[in-house]
Amino acid sequence: MGFWDFTVQASYFVAAVLFILGLKRMGSPKTARNGILWAGAGMVLATVVTFWHPSMEAGFFRYFLIVLAIAIGGIGAWISGKRVQMTAMPQMVALYNGMGGGAAAAIALVEMYSGAAWTHGTGVLALAILGAIIGAVSFSGSLIAWGKLEGVDWMKFSLPKAHIINGVVAAASVIVGLMLLTADDPSVFMITLLLALTLALGVLVTNPIGGADMPVVISLYNALTGLAVAFEGFVLSNPAMIIAGTVVGAAGSLLTLLMAKGMNRSISNVLFAGFGVEDGAQAEGPEGEMKSVEAFDAAASFAYSDSLIIVPGYGLAVAQAQHKLWEFVQALQKEHDVDVKFAIHPVAGRMPGHMNVLLAEAGVPYDLIFDLEEINSEFPNADAALVIGANDVVNPAARTDESSPIYGMPILDVDKAREVYVIKRGKGTGFSGVQNGLFFGENTRMVFGDAKQVCTDLAAGLKQL
């Protein structure tokens, strides 16, 4: 082993260790910031030494192209990453993830077009083809996921008999993949056909999935990209890619399962049946009188409580009300000595943990924020609960009504608090289309209005006391 070969391999080893330690540190709020720095150091190290990788062929133009490509991709991503709003984070992650999948597919294509993939035996060839398929599906699928969450109109379309078309394209991809695997002399046409089929497959599979399920899909594509990277790592004999890709593939799969569980959905359910399909029939719900109060009265009630639990939902973020809410909470804590906690449902926001990011952006310290399991036992002892822009995740029907589409989904037991206040834009239902019995409860008061305006009014109400 020559000097540079040794240096490259040793650096990849160090990078793999840094990735694993970095990811581990990202698992605790105290060390998380540090974790991304470690992983980042590993990435820089691995990237720099790759210029001396033994498989690189000499030539100024070649190196110029590599540096140019890194600059284009890197600067573009740097600017978009710095500018993106925190509410748009899920689709941005989808976009970057899709790029990774596309890169894995590109590696497979170069190795296949050059014929190199056929020189290492059937096992490696199979991984090259599999990586190409997964990478291309993840690439086009993630782009569609991004378009859906971003609301890009020209990306919207629907096909008749979509599941039959999807089945045909999927079967064709597998057949072409198998033909390439057994071919002695692979044709450029077949390789290109595989690319076209798999790109189409990603679009077709992702398109019918509803926006509410998109986080699960993004997470799934994240795991798949990891796998594709690992497979291409075997093709290139690159241990850093194998280990980092496999770790992400496994971690991402588990994360996807956790997310789906939090939403009371199975992965196959998300992929093969749209949530909106059965929604056509209006679910019968509880009826009665909603009791509405002014923000001032709610503020007074909070000021004289000992403990308040706030349940923020995505509506809070859409209204950009988290800063105003935090101002109000600080006033409650300092001037009225109220014990305030935040309760976050696993799927609040658009993906698990998204709401935590949005609250952190407003300056809410994470030790005031609690998970469903941690806080549910505290609702019966709370003087008041405040629900802002959340609906299905606090619907008691999930506990009691077996006929409800959300039956069995874990919910926050807000209805057990002594008094419940709900800030809501109007009298509509959540995205599951189910009416919420909580809103008609004996101890529930509704404060109708835009979340940001109501939070401002709450803070103003406190000052008048």
Partner: protein, 94 residues
Amino acid sequence: MITGFVALYIFMLAAFTGYEIIGRVPAILHTPLMSGSNFVHGIVLVGAMVALGHSHGFWQTLIGFIGVVLAAGNAVGGYVVTERMLEMFKTSKD
């Protein structure tokens, strides 16, 4: 080449590592962690560089070039958004 059972062992051990790492993570960090793991598979950049580094002819070079652009976007974008999210997490004692 890393082939046969050695390849299988590496794959299996790395998969367990990934599984264990995420198993103990509080839900509040799931979004940054998804973003962080998205950054880590940005390592595909080194593979894309090698692919472009030994590509031949116009088409292979073009595909390799696109691969490096995409991979760099994955790595840099993943880092920037993860860092931005994690920077905001603090306790009331800070």
